[in-house]
């Protein structure tokens, strides 16, 4: 079996994978990082979104071997090492932008990419359009849109990270 090496959440990792092993499988099963979720098999739902070399990607649609040498960030890599939450994570809690939580890691990672591409001052229309690749069945998106707008603003303020667990 071929070997693959990459950096995940700042840590160098290697593994033996089959050619057909998806990145999401490598993350979940080899590295036991189960925060990235699988919700579909046609690349629609976005529950699997991670960052590959700083850009959002659907980890269900990438082979692990394609990520040789890449820097991957997953939801587990967002909070500060001391436990302080990223402002976008905090915004999802503050605005009730999640219910069952299953789509949430992918939503948060996608939201960060929207900020990267469109800045910190996001209007409702932009957020809704940009979430085309992320499906939520619980929230009706109303509060997710509010959370992303607020999280984006707070990121610009260099928002003081909040205490991890309240």
């Amino acid at each position: 079996m071929p070997a693959v090496s990459m950096t995940v959440n700042g840590k160098a990792v290697t593994g033996d994978v089959e050619a057909r092993t998806l990145l999401v499988q490598f993350l979940r099963e080899h590295l036991r990082l189960t925060g990235t979720h699988v919700g579909c098999d046609t690349s629609q739902c976005g529950a699997c979104v991670v960052h590959v070399d700083g850009i959002a990607a659907k980890s269900c649609t990438l082979l692990a071997l394609q990520c040789e040498g890449a820097k991957i960030t997953t939801i587990e890599g967002l909070a500060e090492p001391g436990g302080a939450l990223h402002p976008m994570q905090e915004a999802f809690r503050e605005h009730h932008g999640l219910q069952c939580g299953y789509c949430t890691p992918g939503m948060i990672m996608a939201a960060l990419d929207i900020v990267r591409r469109r800045g910190n001052d996001l209007d409702e229309h932009t957020i809704r359009e940009q979430l085309d690749g992320n499906i939520c069945r619980c929230t009706g998106y109303h509060n997710i849109v509010k959370a992303i707008a607020a999280g984006a603003k707070n990121m610009a303020k260099g928002g003081a990270p909040r205490r991890a667990a309240e």
């Binding site: 189960t34 699988v38 919700g39 999640l98 219910q99 939580g101 619980c138 009706g140 109303h142």
Partner: protein, 785 residues
């Protein structure tokens, strides 16, 4: 109201693990020595199995076992069941066909499981599954419920594929009312088939302990105790006390995760056979094929009115597709959860409803958010809106003329509504939606080539499921009470073990709000435990908007007992008579004195027990309550949908959504609003874009999210949500429940709005751009150039 008490928008305790990726969903659980299960499924809608050859599959690397329906039968594993008995008009019981967990000689829908491969890895399992050679003799099939009765017979027990022919109401009185009516409105309605598609696919992880002969099942279940009871008592997998079922974090259910499915049965059985843990997680394509679908009714409905628009009677004849097998609660959805809501918010003297349930070669159909009440609301609210248009009466006015005004109100279809104020919700909705300004907005839109329409849905539903005696008398095999065990620890913190389950509803927060306020202790000191049959003794789970009305009521009753016992303990400590002890804000006081004891001291004393004189008082502070509701609850409200239709493309944009709901007492308004948002989104999905389609060969054409359109953020507006309140008199907190209301109200509001916009009733759900454009063409045929 305190910052963390009843009525406060407290931020959720459960969020931390979800926003950091530390949730524990079933597929996240890993057991040592775990194997993976991959199912071999029928590609045919209807076929005999002539033979299954597993030899090639077994020989592949990593394959631990390959098992078939014959093996299951040899091991005498029982069939899946439907737990709600429905009788036909002639008194005969419903025709429940056998449903083995792996097909026995015949497959009855595409996706029907035929064999299972147990392998070291998923990849090895999939390779082996492809090598299982099944020789099928394909049979003709039927997938359209309207054609089921004349189609090829699927099950021996059910001639004409008819499960039951049920009815409710008074046929003679209804017929007489129609004969005397000044106006009759008739509609043919299809309530389109839906796939629930919770974003977490179903999963099961079964582990057999060779040392204790115990089985443990991690399962994406909304009701682990019900799963345990059915799998033990009906399927005969193991005695109840040797089967533990754990429903950890579950990523959405919407009803689809209530039912007991073949996969968890097979995983348990296989785990004991191979003596290793067996894990299965559905692909989304598998979910499409095997999760219980929702709705799928074909209805002819009629409304009889007098010259003033007063409704005299309603009648409906429905064919309900239950699919290839009767799923766990399937029989109840188009009967007692549907026919009983056909009075809507209106004072209708006579109602008659007939429902024929049929088998087809499609996936089983069962409860999906709203379960029968969206179907009923769509019938009633479309009839009322169309009648208003036909009679030239303004739709809000026609409703006002017919609203029930006094309570309790006994409908002709079993339900007795206990409390409500339908005028109040309509009035508030009209204001919030600025209906007065609609005409101006419509004219402005027309100038830009858009057709604006307004649609109402004044819905009511019955939830807080349910009084055990009532549902028992209607055929339900179980009681629908709920349990709560309140454990006060010596240091004063509290754990509540609830028989409900949370898969997004926020119970860890809302239940803690209730306990914190009642006992006067910090919100942080209350833990809510659910989802494990080893921890919670028994419960009926979460569905039917019951966790507030029934689950919280059980907690209240247990808290009553806690307070009573704690007062006894305090009386001993303070050397006072029990009757003189007052309890407020976490403090016990001797009435008329300044002698008091804090909660933490009383809880410690309950366990230290030094101060109890004699033997009358047992140590400890832990109480249980099983609460059986006395009635359903009846949330109701008014949703107003305003749409803009593009004449050239038929595309519908929802430009405004107003929802005024009466849910009785609200524990956490933020969570309640979230439930309404989510429900509306699913209702809009049904109305505008979702639809599970089987072709004439029984192939599921909409078999993935590529072909089945899920609503996305840009399909929906932000919602304007408000409340009115008439408390339910039927439970201690006055809660009605809110989880399904949005999905119940929304479809009618959307279709009423679109038909208003385009000026024709000739459209069916989903009202896609193509459907709307086509309806416009039919209604306004263009002249040849």
């Amino acid at each position: 109201m305190s910052a963390t008490g009843i009525g406060a928008a407290v931020r959720r305790k459960e969020d931390f693990r979800f926003i950091t990726g530390k949730g524990q969903y079933t597929d996240d659980v890993v057991r040592p020595g775990e194997t993976r299960a991959v199912f071999v499924r029928s590609p045919h809608a209807h076929a005999k199995i002539k033979s299954i050859d597993v030899a090639a599959a077994k020989a592949l690397p990593g394959v631990v076992a390959v098992l078939t329906g014959a093996d299951l039968a040899t091991d005498k594993i029982g069939n899946l069941i439907c737990g709600w008995m429905i009788h036909s008009k002639d008194g005969t019981p419903m025709k429940m066909a056998p449903h083995p967990a792996l097909a026995a000689g015949k497959v009855n829908c595409v996706g029907d499981a035929v064999a299972v491969v147990i392998a070291e890895t998923i990849a090895q399992g999939r390779d082996a599954a492809e090598k299982v050679a099944v020789d099928y003799e394909v049979l003709p099939s039927v997938s359209d419920p309207a054609k089921a009765k004349s189609g090829p017979q699927i099950h021996e027990i059910a001639p004409k594929n008819t499960i039951y022919e049920w009815h409710l109401g008074d046929p003679k009185a209804t017929a007489a009312a129609f004969a005397a009516a000044k106006h009759v409105t008739k509609l043919d309605i299809i309530n389109n088939r839906l796939v629930p598609n919770a974003i977490e696919p179903r999963a099961a992880l079964a582990e057999y302990d060779t040392g204790t002969d115990n089985l443990t099942l991690w399962n994406t279940s909304q009701n682990p105790h019900v799963a345990r009871l059915v799998i033990s008592a009906f399927i005969g997998m193991a005695p109840e006390h040797k089967l533990r079922v754990i429903a950890p974090d579950v990523g959405g259910g919407f009803g689809s995760k209530i039912f007991i499915y073949p996969e968890e049965v097979v995983c348990l059985w296989a785990s004991r056979k191979v003596q290793r843990p067996v894990k299965w997680t559905a692909d989304r394509s598998e979910s499409f094929l095997t999760d219980a679908h929702g709705r799928d009714h074909v209805t002819h409905a009629e409304l009889a009115l007098d010259a003033n628009g007063k409704i005299l009677a309603l009648r409906a004849k429905t064919i309900a597709n239950l699919g290839a097998y009767m799923s766990t609660f399937s029989s109840s959805v188009p009967t007692y959860l549907y026919g009983t809501l056909l009075s809507g918010q209106y004072d209708i003297p006579s109602i008659y409803c007939e429902v024929d349930a049929v088998y087809t070669n499609t996936a089983p159909v069962d409860a999906y958010r709203g379960a029968g009440r969206p179907e009923a609301t769509f019938v009633v609210e479309r009839l009322v809106e169309v009648a208003a248009r036909q009679m030239g009466i303004e739709p809000a006015e026609l409703r006002r003329r017919n609203f029930i005004k006094t309570f309790p109100h006994q409908t002709p279809v079993i339900m007795s509504y206990d409390a409500g104020d339908y005028h109040a919700s309509l009035k508030k909705a009209l204001e919030l939606a600025d209906v007065k300004g609609f005409g101006k907005r419509k004219r402005e839109a027309a100038r830009h080539g858009k057709l604006r329409g307004l649609g109402y849905s004044t819905y009511i539903e019955a939830c807080g499921i349910a009084p055990s005696q009532a549902v028992g008398s209607l055929g339900c095999g179980v009681g629908l009470w709920e349990s709560a065990e309140v454990r006060v620890n010596p240091t004063g913190s509290v754990e509540v073990l609830t028989g409900t389950h949370a898969h997004g509803q926020g119970h860890e927060t809302t239940f803690a709000q209730l306990v914190s306020e009642r006992l006067g202790i910090p919100f942080e000191n209350v833990s809510i435990v659910h989802g494990d049959t080893d921890k919670v003794q028994f419960g009926m789970g979460t569905y039917g908007s019951r966790s507030g009305a029934v689950g919280m009521s059980a907690i209240v009753k247990a808290l009553d007992k806690i307070e009573a016992k704690a007062k006894k303990v305090a009386a001993h400590m303070l050397e006072a008579a029990e009757g003189d002890i007052e309890f407020k804000d976490g403090k016990f006081t001797v009435a008329g004195t300044d002698k008091s004891a804090a909660w933490g001291d009383v809880s410690l004393n309950a366990y230290v027990a030094h101060k109890f004189a004699g033997q009358e008082l047992e140590p400890g502070l832990k109480e249980t309550s099983f609460y059986d509701p006395t009635n359903f609850t009846f949330p109701a409200g008014c949703h107003i949908c305003e749409v803009e239709v593009d004449i050239d493309t038929g595309k519908t944009e929802i430009v405004n959504w107003t929802a005024i709901d009466d849910f009785g007492t609200i524990i956490n308004p933020m969570i309640v609003e979230g439930q309404v948002h989510g429900g509306i989104a699913q209702g809009v999905g049904q109305a505008l874009m979702e639809g599970a389609v089987y072709d004439k060969n029984g192939q599921l054409v909409t078999g993935s999210m590529m072909d089945y359109t899920m609503p996305r953020a840009h399909d929906l507006p932000s919602f304007h949500v408000g409340l009115t309140e008439t408390k339910s008199p039927s439970n201690p907190l006055g809660i009605k429940g809110c989880g399904e209301a949005g999905a119940i109200a929304a479809p009618a509001a959307v279709i009423n709005a679109i038909t208003d916009a385009i000026g024709t009733e000739d459209i069916a759900m989903p009202a896609t751009a193509n459907a709307v454009w086509s309806a416009l063409q039919r209604a306004n045929p263009r002249q040849a150039a």
